[in-house]
Symmetry: C2
Subunit: 395 residues, 2 copies
C-alpha cells in the first residue's frame, strides 16, 4: 500500500503552458502565466505622503519658522520658485518642489500671519516618498505562478496591466458511479443513495476557479464507465470518478482504466478515509478515483486534485497547507493508516486547537458540514492524547 | 478622535431582510437567510460503512466462523432471511439485514469453502451507521446567517435543497475622487495619479461576493461629488468614496455628505493608515469615506466595509478575524494611533510570525502586493520589540 506522501510524490503532471488574456478584474484567483516587470519608476517624482508643508531642512534651526509661499495640490503641475526660508502648503500625493527635501504635517505646526512655526521640526526627509523608492524600472514585481489576489490589483493597475496573461482554466471532469445513486428530487427506493458528491465536487472545482465538466452519474456497468472515462480523459486535464475504486464485486474503475490504456500509478493509499483511492494517468490527463462516500470524496479531492492543480499550474496555493494544532480530545486508532478527521479548529491564545465533532465515518456528511478543517493523524500513531500536537489543514 | 474600536461600535446598520432563491451551486459564498432543518432521519436504515460481512454478534464466540448465505450491494433492496450462524457479504452503503448487528471488514477475515473465519472478531455494532445517527428529523442543521461553503454541499443535496434561500447581494457603490486621477491607459500629466483604487475596490467587493456599482472617478468638485453621493446612497446599501475625506482645501466628502443630509458618525479615527476616515449614514445606506492612498483604501475597506457587510447580512465571516503572531523585527511609533502595517505572516513551529516588508507609507501599493496580512499595533505602544505578540489579520 502507498503512503499519503508517496501518492503525492507519484503525481508529476506536465505543466500547462496555454495562456489566456483576461481583464484585470477577471484575473483575481487566476494564475499568472508570465513574470511581470515594472516599466516605471515609482513614485515618478518625490511625493508628499502627508498633507502638510514642504520645506528645505537646512532652512530650519532648533525651531522651524518659515513663510508660506505657495500651495500645491495633488495633480498640480505648477513650477514653483522658492527662496530660502520659504515653505509650501502641500497635499498628499503632490509633487514636492525641487527646492524642498522634507515635509512637516499640518498637525505638527501652528500657522500665523502667513508663517508656520513648530518647536519640534521633523527629521530631514520626513513624509516624502522618493522617486523610484517603491518600484524600480525593470524590477520583477510578480512572478509567473502567482495566484492573483485583491492586494495585487493596485500594483497591476499602476503598471497599466488591464489585460493579464494567465494560464487557462483546467478542465476537470466529474463522474459519479453507483446503481444506488439518485439525484435530489428523483424517485427513491428505500436503499437509494442521493448523489450528493456530484454537487460537492463541482462546488469544489468552482471554488478553485477551474472549469467543471459534468459527465453525469453512471450505473455500475464496466462498458459505460469505460466509454465515459475514455471520452473524459480525451477532453479534460483531470477526471474525478467516485465509487467503484475499491475491490468489491461491482468496483469497475480500475478495470475501466486498464481497458482504456491508462497507467495506474496508485491503487490504494494507507489513509482513512480514502484507502481505495486510485490515481492514474492517460496521456496528459490525471484520473483520481475515490470511494463514493461524501467525506472520502471531499478529502481526496482536496488532497490530490488540489495537488494536481498546483503542479499543473505551477502554483502551490491550490495545495493543502498543513498547519499545527494541539488536540482537545483523546483519539485511538490502529497504527496502520493516516487518519484525516473532520474537526473544528479554533485559534485560542497564540495557537490553534482542534475540537472534536461527532463523526460516524466517511458517510457522515453532517460531520463534514460542521467541520472547518481536517486533522492529520500519522499512520504510526495509536493513541493520540489530549494536548498532543498534530498537523491539520483548513477546508 | 475616535478609536478603531469605537468606529466599529458606531456601525449599527439595519439588517437586510430581502431573500433570494438560488440554485445549490450558486449558493456557495452566499449567506443563508433561513434556518435549515432536516426533513429526514439519516441514515434511513442501518448502513454498512465498510465492504465486508454482516453478521449477528451473538452468533460469534471467541472465533468467528460463519456461513456466507447471500450478498448485498448498495442500492439493492432484497429482503434476506438469515439463519443462525449465517453471514452476508455486504458492500459499503448497503442496508444491513435486520438479523445482523455487526459488520466485519473483508481484510479481517479469511474466506474458505463458503465460510468466513476470523480469530479476532470485531466489537458488536462495528462498521454500521445506525438509522438516524447522523441526522434526526426536525434537527436544525444550518443556521440563518451561515456563509455557505463547499463542505455543506453534501448535506444540502442530501436534504434535496437544490434551491436555497439566501440574502440578496448588497449593492456597494464605488466613487473615487481627485483632479489628479487618470485611468490606466489615459493620457497622463507628470503629476497624474493612476486611479488604481477603483479596480482594487471592485475586486474586493467581488471577492466578498457582493455587487459593485461603479460611479466612476470624480473631479474635486463639491457639486459633482454631492450629486453623485445623493444618487449612490439612494441606490446602494453601502457607498465607498475615496479621496477628499481629510481636512485639506479640496477635501469635499464631509461637506457633500452634510449637504445631502447624511449623518456623519465618525470623522477621523486614530489609526494609521486611514486617520481621515469618514463613516456616515443616510437613510439605510452606510457611507465610508477613505483617504485616496491605495493602502488606506484597501485596509479601510477590509476593516469597515467588511464589518458593515457582516452586520447587514448577520454573518461574521466578512469581518476581519484577528489572530496573534510574534514579530520578527522592532518597530517604533508615536503612541497616538493604532498602526495597521502590511506584513508577511508565516506559520512557523506552532504559531504565526510576522516578517517585515519594506514599506513606504500608505501610497506603497508595492508593499501591499507583497503582504498577506496587516499587523495591528495598538495605539498606546511606542516601541514594539522583536518577539512581542500582536494581533494581525489575513488579507
Amino acid at each position: 500500500m502507498t503512503t499519503f506522501y508517496e501518492a503525492i510524490e507519484a503525481i508529476q503532471p506536465k505543466p500547462i503552458t496555454q495562456i489566456q488574456k483576461v481583464g484585470l478584474l477577471d484575473s483575481i484567483n487566476r494564475v499568472l502565466a508570465v513574470d511581470i516587470a515594472s516599466d516605471i519608476d515609482f513614485p515618478p517624482f518625490n511625493k508628499a505622503t502627508m498633507d502638510g508643508f514642504a520645506f528645505r531642512f537646512s532652512d530650519v534651526d532648533d525651531t522651524l519658522k518659515l513663510k508660506i509661499a505657495d500651495e500645491l495640490f495633488a495633480g498640480s503641475n505648477k513650477d514653483i520658485a522658492l527662496k530660502p526660508k520659504d515653505a509650501v502648503r502641500i497635499m498628499t500625493g503632490a509633487k514636492v518642489p525641487e527646492y524642498c527635501d522634507s515635509v512637516v504635517e499640518f498637525e505638527a505646526v501652528t500657522e500665523k500671519e502667513g508663517y508656520i512655526v513648530s518647536k519640534k521640526p521633523p527629521k530631514k526627509g520626513s513624509n516624502i516618498a522618493y522617486f523610484g523608492e517603491d518600484l524600480k524600472k525593470g524590477e520583477t514585481v510578480l512572478k509567473k505562478g502567482t495566484l492573483i489576489k485583491t492586494n495585487m490589483v493596485n500594483l497591476l493597475a499602476q503598471l497599466s496591466c488591464v489585460s493579464i496573461k494567465v494560464y487557462r482554466k483546467l478542465k476537470i471532469g466529474v463522474i459519479t458511479t453507483g446503481d444506488e445513486l439518485v439525484s435530489p428530487g428523483e424517485p427513491q427506493k428505500p436503499s437509494s443513495i442521493i448523489d450528493t458528491s456530484h454537487y460537492s465536487l463541482i462546488a469544489q472545482i468552482n471554488q478553485f476557479n477551474q472549469e467543471a465538466v459534468d459527465y453525469g452519474k453512471l450505473p455500475d456497468d464496466l462498458q459505460t464507465i469505460e466509454k465515459t472515462l475514455d471520452i473524459a480523459t480525451k477532453t479534460c486535464d483531470i477526471v474525478v470518478i467516485t465509487g467503484g475504486s475499491s475491490f468489491g464485486d461491482k468496483d469497475y474503475t480500475a478495470d475501466a482504466l486498464n481497458n482504456i490504456g491508462a497507467k495506474i500509478l496508485v491503487r490504494t493509499i494507507d489513509m482513512k478515509p480514502g484507502r481505495p483511492t486510485i490515481i492514474a494517468l492517460k496521456d496528459n490527463c490525471y484520473i483520481v478515483g475515490s470511494p463514493g462516500n461524501p467525506v472520502s470524496t471531499f478529502s481526496v479531492f482536496r488532497l490530490f486534485v488540489g495537488n494536481i492543480i498546483s503542479k499543473m499550474l505551477g502554483c502551490s496555493d491550490f495545495d493543502v497547507r498543513f498547519l499545527k494544532c494541539s488536540i482537545t480530545f483523546d483519539y485511538n486508532k490502529k497504527p496502520d493508516r493516516m487518519h484525516f478527521l473532520p474537526v473544528d479548529v479554533r485559534f485560542d491564545q497564540n495557537g490553534y486547537k482542534a475540537y472534536k465533532i461527532p463523526y460516524n465515518g466517511s458517510g457522515d456528511f453532517s460531520a463534514l458540514s460542521k467541520a472547518n478543517a481536517f486533522l492529520a493523524i500519522p499512520k504510526e500513531i495509536q493513541n493520540a492524547r489530549l494536548a498532543d500536537i498534530f498537523e491539520f489543514f483548513f477546508i
